[in-house]
């Protein structure tokens, strides 16, 4: 029972920080009103347009202490591509900043000036979803092989794995 009350206290204390981040974000960027959601303790989701992305992103890094990039997720959402940047800070709170880019022109600014480690995640977006990253330093592709066709992006919803030919099936 002791542990239960301790848990409860922890929850209450931690949610204060989430609420504070939410309020500060909305106060600073009024257009984020209704776009910042706390899904549970230590989890915040923010939706921001591509134009305003850098402002919000820089603010979270410089003012709220989100200094660790967990990863970047790319999503195929039909008409658009979604990108979620998962950042965390020292208290274990993860903020998920979602933005989207049009499918016909999937260009995304690199975040390597903020997080040098983001390079490999951005290469993954290039290979698997066909994003164009402005501008990635030169380097080898990841994770697809060098002879992978340049117009096939496996994580797009319209990409289906090809059936193996009968002779390939024998070896599979």
């Amino acid at each position: 029972m002791l542990s239960d009350t301790r848990d409860h206290k922890r929850t209450v204390r931690k949610m204060d920080t989430e609420n504070k981040i939410q309020q500060e974000l909305i106060a600073k960027f009024t257009y984020l009103d209704g776009k910042v959601k706390i899904s549970r303790i230590r989890r915040i989701f923010v939706e921001v347009t591509q134009e305003k992305f850098t402002d919000v992103f820089e603010y979270l890094i410089n003012n709220e202490g989100f200094l660790h990039l967990c990863t970047i997720t790319g999503l195929d959402e039909g008409a658009t591509f979604g990108i979620i940047y998962h950042l965390s800070e020292k208290n274990g709170i993860v903020i998920n900043i979602k933005t989207s880019i049009p499918k016909e022109n999937p260009v995304l600014k690199t975040i390597t000036p903020y997080f040098p480690g983001a390079e490999i995640y951005e290469r993954e977006l290039t290979d698997l979803l066909g994003f164009e990253i402005d501008t990635l330093p030169p380097g080898s592709r990841y994770p697809l092989p060098d002879d992978w066709p340049h117009d096939e992006f496996p994580l797009r919803k319209d990409w289906k794995p090809k059936e193996l030919k009968p002779e390939e099936k024998k070896n599979a």
């Binding site: 542990s3 301790r6 848990d7 922890r10 899904s39 549970r40 230590r42 989890r43 989701f45 200094l67 660790h68 990039l69 967990c70 990863t71 997720t73 999503l75 195929d76 979620i84 998962h86 965390s88 020292k90 208290n91 274990g92 709170i93 993860v94 998920n96 997080f115 040098p116 480690g117 983001a118 390079e119 490999i120 995640y121 698997l128 380097g139 080898s140 592709r141 990841y142 994770p143 697809l144 092989p145 496996p154 994580l155 794995p161």
Partner: protein
């Protein structure tokens, strides 16, 4: 510096002496490393795409097979995300069992690492010892779950097997044996001068670089970063258990060794508490086949560091998107910095010290002589022998220590 003096060595991607495929291309000036290019992806199996085409239940088993070492890591991380979206209140007993299996997995992974590290520096008696001891924990895992690897203990909403009193007694007995052995290894690592000399100052990664590059797990903690998901973003039963986050200020391979060894002691502490505090009750709650639309991000402190899973659902039996980021992918970039201006002979141990797991993320080195347009592929085994011989010439020789240890046991 004349450009023509740089020499490029390819190591990888396919070689029988390597445990997993990846490719390093090392630019050398004399014996010093001037730059490292890493090419990953040789083991990319398209699991994220495959998850979208399968049901959540199938995905639990598929995701468990991302990695043979930290299989419980990935399956727990995934089910946590799905459970969060579905709003399932997982029974406490199940959370405790997940924690116990998770810590047993960390023990077997760290013991495995200790052996590999010993092997790479030529201290093979340590490899034999630690891998023998590792069998103790492997047997415990097999007893509890039915398998030595890929335990299959998790299901959406709980766990598949209970831990009974006889098993508890056996786990406690094994933990006792392992704790004694770990104390001995800590003594060896902190008192044997050959080990200290071989590992100190090798693969330096400053706190600032570790933060900037996003290093995770023991690699980050050995650079003084006090960050452990189990404590900062607790999952399973960790919020109710007491343990210390081990950090070290050495910032080198020696520090990474000490952190992992001391973490083992904390794992024993966690397992003992968990077995004692584990409440009685159900093992699972019923999970719906169709998961309501939503999204969740789940984090897990794997033996190698922070593992991240993002799951997005669309109301059907199959997920809309599953994103996995294994800890090695976050740590691999640090290797470039650790190796810069160091000797080629340090390469095996520096790479081994991040405890890379490329099946999770996704090995061979190539040398390029730009002057003569010559390209040479060096085998890992050859590089390892070269490294051991090179250090022998510097007076760091494990022959005596190997003999001494053999005689001790």
């Amino acid at each position: 510096m004349r450009e023509s003096k740089k020499f490029r060595i390819p190591i990888g991607p396919q070689h029988p002496a390597l445990k997993e495929p990846e490719s390093f291309s090392v630019a050398l000036k004399g014996e010093k490393i001037k730059g490292v290019d890493v090419r990953l992806g040789y083991n990319h199996r398209g699991i994220e795409k495959a998850c979208e085409q399968r049901t959540y239940i199938q995905d639990v088993y598929l995701i468990e097979r991302i990695c043979g070492i930290c299989s419980h890591t990935h399956s727990t991380c995934f089910v946590q995300a799905v459970e969060e979206i579905a709003g399932l209140a997982v029974p406490k007993r199940a959370l405790y069992i997940r924690t116990i299996i998770g810590e047993l997995e960390r023990i077997h992974s760290h013991y495995l690492w200790l052996g590999v590290a010993g092997h790479e520096i030529g201290f093979d008696t340590l490899l034999m010892y630690s891998w023998r001891d590792r069998e103790v924990v492997m047997d415990v895992l097999a007893m509890l779950t039915g398998n030595r690897v890929n335990y299959g203990i998790n299901c959406i909403g709980g766990v598949r097997r209970d831990i009974d009193e006889t098993q508890t007694a056996q786990v406690l007995k094994a933990v006792g044996i392992l704790e004694e052995r770990t104390k001995y290894y800590i003594e060896v690592a902190t008192e044997e001068t050959t080990i200290i000399k071989r590992l100190s100052g090798v693969g330096m990664l400053s706190r600032e670089d570790a933060l900037r590059l996003g290093a995770v797990g023991p690699t980050a903690r050995a650079s003084g970063i006090d960050y452990d998901i189990r404590q900062k973003d607790p999952y399973a039963a960790y919020a109710e258990l007491e343990f210390d986050v081990i950090t070290d200020a050495h910032c080198d391979v020696y520090g990474r060794t000490v952190v992992r060894l001391k973490e083992l002691m904390q794992s024993y502490r966690i397992i003992r508490q968990a077995l004692k505090k584990m409440p009685q009750g159900q093992l699972t709650v019923r999970a719906p086949r169709k998961i309501p639309a939503g999204e969740a991000i789940s984090r897990y402190e794997a033996p190698r560091g922070e593992d991240v899973h993002y799951v997005k659902s669309n109301g059907t039996e199959q997920p809309e998107r599953v994103k996995v980021r294994a800890p090695t992918l976050a740590n691999i970039r640090t290797v470039k910095y650790m190796l810069r201006d160091r000797y080629l002979a340090d390469m095996p141990i520096v790479i081994a010290a991040i405890d890379p797991c490329f099946s999770c993320t996704d090995r061979v080195v190539s040398l390029n002589d730009t002057a003569n347009k010559k390209r040479e592929v060096i085998e890992w085994q050859k590089l390892r022998s070269y490294s051991i011989e090179w250090y022998k010439k510097q007076g760091i020789d494990f022959t005596e220590l190997n003999r001494k240890f053999k005689n001790r046991d």
